[in-house]
């Protein structure tokens, strides 16, 4: 029987039109703007300026490029390492059923559904220098003697926003890895036990190899996602103090919302996308080659 395939194209059309007009067209426009003199304060002179926007970003005095790039790398990889490790441990703990597991997972995974900006504000209250919970707990435990300005002291600010981001990202890894763990057939563990394999051998010989595709794809996607995620920092410090927590994404936001310098903002956007493209290329190459070696 022949299916009426033509009507399916009609079903697809609205989605393609919306994506073309409201996603792909603006992105192309953004790429063009990266090479233009686009500033809301001076719209008369929208001419091409070749690579002037990129030069301006690299030599910016207010946002030193080296520092912002280093912050971005630290923000992405420290957050990722802890989110991944803790999410993995949580998923392992949840693999075997126990009484009340459903309620427990709802409570422990709920941060996934919250707004990054609101979470940033909540954590900035916890890290408040005068009335913050973090100071009070650390002083009661005897770790510190006087309150610390976690968000006003450049030594602690980046660590503080990263802690908030770790808290926010554990559920994503927990959910994804738990689902993957539950797809591992139990017979594998049973036969491993008969062979006398201990917990660590089981983890590294069965669990990790079996769910490797999930581990690779979640970490790959999460890097892209964290790098494009200024919300928490925006809610906590907005890049300050003294650029201590500025990452490329927050710098781009500030270029748009404070300086109205759309040209330079688009240039930063392009830089972010290029970094991610290179990262994804090498990450996939590295992880697939390793598989061949085993």
């Amino acid at each position: 029987m022949k299916k009426p395939q033509d009507i399916l194209i009609k079903y697809l059309l609205p989605t393609l039109i919306v994506l073309t007009l409201l996603v792909y067209l603006p992105v192309c426009r953004s790429f063009v703007m990266a090479f233009q003199n686009y500033n809301l304060y001076n719209l008369k002179d929208k001419g091409w300026n070749n690579f002037a926007n990129f030069r301006a970003v690299f030599t910016d005095q207010t946002y030193p490029f080296g520092q912002v790039l280093l912050n971005t790398v630290l923000w992405v990889f420290i957050s990722l390492a802890f989110q991944f490790t803790l999410g993995f441990i949580l998923a392992l703990l949840l693999r075997k059923p126990f009484k009340g597991r459903g309620l427990y997972t709802s409570l422990v995974f709920y941060p996934w559904a919250l707004s990054g900006f609101a979470i940033g504000l909540v954590w900035s209250w916890i890290f408040n220098g005068q009335f913050g919970l973090a100071n009070d707990i650390l002083m009661k435990l005897g770790v510190i003697k006087a309150p610390i300005g976690f968000l006003s002291d450049p030594h602690y600010a980046l660590m503080s926003v990263i802690i908030a981001n770790i808290w926010y990202g554990i559920p994503f890894f927990g959910i994804m890895i738990l689902a993957a763990l539950q797809s591992i057939p139990n017979e594998l563990y049973e036969s491993a036990k008969i062979d006398g394999a201990n917990w660590f051998t089981q983890l590294f010989r069965i669990t990790i190899p079996y769910i490797k595709p999930t581990l690779v794809s979640t970490t790959l996607l999460r890097v892209m996602w964290i790098m494009n995620f200024p919300d928490i920092i925006y809610g906590m410090t907005n890049g300050g103090p003294a650029n201590a927590t500025n990452i490329l994404a927050t710098e781009m936001l500030n270029k748009i919302m404070k300086e109205y310098n759309y040209g330079q903002a688009s240039a930063i956007g392009l830089i972010i996308m290029m970094i991610l493209f290179v990262y994804a290329f090498f990450y996939l190459k590295f992880t697939s080659r390793k598989e061949v070696e085993i």
Partner: protein, 278 residues
């Protein structure tokens, strides 16, 4: 052997308890803060259990800061955007799942996956310029359409993978009986898709409710303010008033928590099926 098993189950219990405390601490703390009398908020050492529960902050929030209106605006944008995105994703996901020409299908899928990689703040300024020219600023329905666009590719991918699990043979049988494509879609396939629809709706709801930056750019009229925009205006004024803000945060976090509590099962399936974006 028995002792080691006992120890490991205690260890597991302790670890699970620690994770729970860490996950709940920020939320519990902001709820406690919002229920304190403002005098008890600004003290150090801290007051952990308020002397008496006070709703002063919530009264300030709703009486003097018009938060009820902002809540309504947020709800309008979020429900419009989620339903619109869901409707379009049902059609496009169905089409992609059932379409047989592979060349076109894989090209469309590539377009969808690629648009997942685009950071939404790269769209901010071009969209702002475009919509300002068309006179669409400060309109809630225009913002809802923008959100349809930002959630649509993920929703389509998810919708397609849900349709893929429903066997084509069921529809073919219906067509032999004389159903048209749209009849078989609405009468037979969509009722079977209920969990998928719940997942797609929950995802869109959470993403749209939480979005801040596009809303800040598109809405400047106080009567059209949504909750994230209102919270943003609380912090940009000199000095944060933590009493009102803590109450505002609790109100802003509640709806997505409720959606998560009810839709968690479907969200987990959706995340692992669509598996692209957190």
């Amino acid at each position: 052997m028995k002792i080691s098993r006992c120890l490991s189950s205690i260890g597991r219990f302790v670890a699970l308890a620690l994770f729970l405390v860490f996950a709940l601490l920020p939320l519990v703390w902001i709820v406690i803060t919002s229920l304190k009398d403002p005098k008890e908020i600004f003290t150090f050492p801290l007051v952990y259990i308020p002397g008496k529960i006070s709703f002063v902050s919530y009264q300030k929030l709703f009486r003097f800061n018009n938060f009820g209106l902002y809540f309504r605006n947020s709800l309008i944008v979020t429900v419009l955007g989620s339903l619109g995105s869901l409707l379009m994703a049902v059609f496009s996901g169905y089409a992609l799942s059932r379409y047989k020409k592979h060349a076109l299908k894989s090209k469309v899928l590539l377009v969808l996956y690629f648009s997942q990689m685009i950071p939404s703040f790269l769209l901010m300024t071009p969209l702002y310029i475009m919509i300002a020219k068309l006179g669409g600023l400060d309109k809630l329905w225009v913002l809802a359409i923008v959100y349809i666009a930002t959630t649509l590719s993920f929703n389509t991918i998810m919708s397609k993978s849900f349709f893929d699990r429903i066997p084509v043979s069921i529809e073919e049988a219906a067509m032999v009986d004389g159903c048209t494509t749209s009849q078989s879609l609405f009468r037979i396939v969509i009722p079977m898709m209920a969990p998928g629809l719940a997942a797609i709706f929950s995802f869109s709801f959470v993403n749209i409710w939480n979005e801040l930056f596009l809303a800040v750019m598109f809405l400047s009229d106080p009567a059209k303010t949504t909750i994230p925009v209102a919270l943003n205006s609380f912090i940009s004024k000199a000095g944060i008033s933590w009493d009102i803000l803590s109450a505002g945060l609790v109100v802003s976090l509640l709806p997505t928590m409720i959606v998560f509590a009810f839709g968690q099962k479907y969200i987990v399936v959706g995340l692992t099926e669509g598996g692209v974006k957190g």
